[in-house]
């Protein structure tokens, strides 16, 4: 494995200074579940790893008036273990429960999953549909980027060399909202999305009409994708098979997948439609407060 | 009754298409020599010197012979020449 140095600062300023000084040869070490393998494979050859797990700002997990604050280093399993804190954000929980096995979930963070910026990553579609904002810090200050604008290509994102993702913020959830994330994989667990779909819906008092909806797709484009037309097609529409089918069709049109060993283009486009329908149905059920029966891998 | 030698299908050109050859012999070596006497060229395809060719096994009846050319052949035994197989 490439030789590198290691620092584990306890305050953010020190951490940010490393990145300001290292001209891109430093990398953030959060859970390390992607990074360590990537270094082993020679994909990255950093000279310094900055372990950010000791920074208090990156370990915050709390729900306040203004919404949910999720530190970038919080491991996936901490998220679903704090089910009351994240109760309104079901899609986020769905994602966290399927990233790798338990061993990976105990280390990997949503922040790391986002920063790794894999097109098939399981958390970005959920972040997008939940309207998450990414809080980015550097020695110069902080800025916020909407989740759908964070990734810019496979393994690429908006972070500059001196910047670190420190937190993901979510607005509070309106009443009668529900969300869901689901992916298609050949195995039921321990797999990587061939297609991933997240959806969040808000219904009116009757529960029969969409007030608002957001749909996002994974593994069907170089980056996770906010399916804007599909989402907007549902606003103000009644909840029925036609409106859902129409949204699924628009989601399919938004998909720009490639053929690869995990699935063909045709397969991915087809499954995008199937999953969009299923995910919307589940999100609607949750918005209505209905009981759900799910099976592992389905 | 005498031993019945089953001719491997790819060698039937040597035996004028004959599938089974009846010969006498007390062991596999003698049986092969007996076929060779009728159909010259046979032994060279089955044997390598005084051994079975590499990769080849002989069964007598339903049993795989573990004694090679010295394996005893009963008067009514079937003799087959098959590839040696193994397993995982």
């Amino acid at each position: 494995m490439h030789d590198f140095d290691y620092e584990a600062p306890v305050d953010l300023d020190t951490a940010l200074r490393f990145f300001a000084e290292r001209n891109g040869s430093a990398r953030v070490l959060a859970g390390g579940t992607d990074l360590i393998d990537q270094i082993r494979l020679g994909r990255y050859a950093p000279d310094l790893l900055v372990d950010i797990k000791k920074l208090p700002e990156l370990n915050v997990l709390e729900c306040q008036e203004g919404g949910l604050r999720l530190g970038a280093a919080v491991p996936c399993s901490e998220i679903y273990r704090n089910e009351t804190v994240v109760s309104g954000y079901e899609a986020l929980v769905d994602s966290c429960r399927i990233i790798g096995g338990i061993q990976v979930q105990n280390r990997a963070s949503v922040g790391g999953n986002l920063c790794n910026s894999g097109p098939a990553a399981d958390s970005p579609p959920s972040l997008i549909v939940l309207g998450a904002r990414c809080v980015i810090a550097s020695a110069q200050g902080q800025r916020e980027v909407p989740a759908e604008e964070f990734c810019t290509g496979p393994g690429e994102n908006v972070l500059q060399q001196d910047e670190v993702l420190i937190e993901i913020r979510f607005s509070s959830r309106p009443p009668r909202s529900g969300s869901h994330y689901r992916r298609f994989t050949p195995r039921n667990e321990m797999d990587i999305a061939v297609v991933g779909v997240g959806a969040s819906v808000t219904l009116d008092e009757t529960g029969e009409r969409f007030v608002d909806a957001r749909i996002a797709l994974g593994a069907v484009a170089p980056t996770p994708l906010f399916a804007r037309e599909a989402s907007e097609s549902l606003t103000g529409q009644p909840v029925n098979d036609e409106t859902i089918a129409r949204a699924a069709e628009l989601a399919q049109q938004a998909a720009r997948p490639i053929d690869d060993m995990r699935g063909t283009k045709e397969f991915r486009i087809h499954v995008t439609g199937v999953l969009t329908r299923r995910v919307l149905a589940a999100a609607i059920g949750r918005a209505r407060g209905e009981e759900e029966g799910t099976r592992i891998g389905h | 009754m005498v031993p019945l030698v089953y001719i491997p299908p790819l060698l039937k050109s040597l035996t004028n298409g004959q599938e089974i050859v009846e010969v006498s012999g007390k062991n596999v070596r003698e049986v092969i020599q007996a076929v060779e006497a009728i159909y010259p060229g046979f032994a060279a395809r089955i044997c390598d010197g005084d051994d079975l060719r590499s990769g080849l096994a002989v069964t007598v009846g339903t049993k795989l012979a573990t004694n090679g050319l010295r394996e005893v052949v009963d008067t009514d035994s079937e003799v087959h020449f098959l590839p040696a197989i193994s397993g995982g």
């Binding site: 494995m1 490439h2 030789d3 590198f4 140095d5 290691y6 584990a8 070490l29 859970g31 390390g32 579940t33 360590i36 393998d37 270094i39 082993r40 790893l49 372990d51 797990k53 399993s77 790798g100 096995g101 338990i102 061993q103 990976v104 105990n106 280390r107 039921n188 667990e189 321990m190 592992i296 | -």
Partner: protein, 159 residues
């Protein structure tokens, strides 16, 4: 070469110090430097679970943790599971159920199952399968492993 670090950690209840390069994984140090070879390397990228140890009570892949990250942590490996005078109920259940064939994956399964039973003393079959999905076994087809964890859970309830 990057400067070596002295790491102070607790392994199987005992304070332990070791010297490591930053690029060495916890698995490498456990196996090569501390002679704790019960944790196995099957894939080195977090897909097989043979290297599973508990870090602060949670199951993790020791192949995906740098040894330096163990500073201040409580690590538990398969070598620390059995009490001095016998076996843990999980180990016992694995033997009773014949839940191992070659045995290479067994330490990882026992560590994952141990973490599960600490958190959920009475797991359903689905809970067990979900929590063991990060451990691959190529010999058994999992049937007997799942039953062993069920038995161990039942045995622990009785104590």
């Amino acid at each position: 070469m990057a400067k070596k670090r002295i790491v102070t950690t607790t392994i199987n209840g005992k304070e332990t110090q070791f010297l490591c390069q930053p690029r060495q994984t916890l698995l490498e140090i456990l196996r090569d430097d501390l002679a704790l070879t019960g944790s196995k390397e099957g894939c080195s990228n977090g897909n097989c679970g043979a290297c599973t140890v508990l870090c602060n009570g949670k199951a993790v892949n020791s192949c995906l943790i740098l040894a330096v990250e163990a500073e201040g942590a409580e690590i538990e490996t398969i070598e620390g599971v059995a009490p001095v005078d016998g076996l843990d109920s999980l180990q016992d259940a694995f033997l009773q159920q014949a839940a191992l064939q070659c045995g290479i994956c067994t330490p990882g399964f026992i560590m994952s199952a141990k973490a599960l039973l600490q958190e959920q003393p009475d797991p359903s079959e689905e809970d067990i399968r979900f929590n063991l999905a990060g451990n691959l076994c190529r010999c058994t087809g999992y049937d007997k492993i799942v039953r062993a964890v069920q038995d161990a859970a039942a045995a622990r309830q009785q104590v």
